[in-house]
């Protein structure tokens, strides 16, 4: 599962139309990558599809950075 970050990065680059080098573990979706709350919902939907998992609403609320997403996805993908 070491490629989780790379797969997340690819989705973020495509969805938010940002430069790949801006997508770091510590990058905040909203503050650094220009996402709005609806973009975040769509990103989570895309993660769910890519990794075939379901990310519960209360977990979604805690996903602020790219690293948060990677951590949660790793925890959900066995």
């Amino acid at each position: 599962m070491s490629d989780v970050f790379e797969r997340v990065k690819k989705i973020v680059v495509e969805n938010l139309d940002v430069e790949a080098d801006k997508v770091t573990e510590s990058a905040s979706f909203i503050d650094d990558l220009g996402a709005d709350s609806l973009d975040l919902v769509e990103l989570v939907m895309a993660f769910e599809e890519e990794f075939n998992i379901e990310i519960p609403d209360d977990v979604q609320e805690n996903i602020r950075t790219v690293g948060d997403a990677v951590t949660h996805i790793k925890a959900h993908v066995s």
């Binding site: 609806l38 919902v41 769509e42 939907m45």
Partner: protein, 246 residues
């Protein structure tokens, strides 16, 4: 006039007067329609009368699980994601407030407004992905004007209007519109049984001098579902013969 070819639609309350008229008009415009309601036999009859393709998916809107699964079942039966949702189902439990029991209030709010929340929530996800969607809530003139004996119903219908405005703002950037249609007095089995004196009094309040038809509401729904209405969102279209001008 408006072409809905290749579009799919779900109409709730499709066995009733207004719901069946909406289903028929969407079908005439080319949409493939899923008919939902509790009475399977009546829904089958409506389906067989459609000019185009249609499917029947039963649902009891007072049952949360049944509502939550409805969009998925409709999409499966239609063989694709939903483009158009017409939330038309509703119930009444008319009583003066002084006589209204908590369950009279809760049932009406739950079926009319609660199911609207559940249905729109489950349909909007796919619409966001596809960057296209039309959500149409059938509310009522009394949600805006009030009506004695219907505090619960009026609250639920006014609630739909506010809900739709919030939803419209949330999803507008994704090519999804959300609007309401507010019918006035529409000829139906419900209005047929009114005493003549009451009918006369009613007609006196309607400048066009007649009750509306289901097809009047259906035409409004076809417009709001069309590509031509892409720039119309968060609105309530009043179809009432001039009975209230808002």
């Amino acid at each position: 006039m408006f072409d809905l070819s290749g579009r799919t639609a779900l109409v709730t309350g499709a066995s009733g007067g207004i719901g069946s008229a909406i289903a028929k008009s969407l079908s005439e415009a080319g949409a493939k329609v899923a008919l939902s309601g509790t009475r399977e036999g009546v829904l089958e009859e409506v389906r067989s009368g459609l000019p185009g393709e249609g499917v029947v998916v039963t649902a009891n809107l007072s049952d949360a699980e049944s509502v939550d699964s409805l969009v998925g079942r409709a999409e499966e039966a239609l063989g694709g994601g939903l483009d158009i949702l017409v939330a038309n189902a509703g119930i009444t439990r008319d009583k003066l407030l002084m006589q209204m029991k908590p369950e009279d209030f809760d049932d009406v709010m739950n079926v009319n407004l609660g199911s609207y929340y559940r249905l729109t929530k489950s349909v909007v996800r796919g619409m966001m992905k596809r960057r296209h969607g039309r959500i149409i809530g059938i509310t009522s003139i009394v949600g805006v004007t009030g009506n004695p004996g219907q505090a619960n119903y009026c609250a639920s219908k006014a609630g739909m209007i506010g809900f739709t405005k919030a939803l419209a703002q949330e999803v507008a950037s994704r090519g999804i519109t959300a609007n309401c249609i507010a019918p006035g007095f529409i000829e139906s089995p419900m209005t047929d049984v009114l005493p003549d004196a009451q009918k006369e009094a009613l007609l006196g309040q309607i400048p066009s001098g007649k009750l509306g038809q289901g097809s009047d509401i259906a035409s409004a729904a076809v417009y709001l579902a069309s590509s031509e209405a892409a720039y119309v969102t968060g609105q309530t279209l009043h179809v009432n013969g001039g009975m209230a001008m808002i």
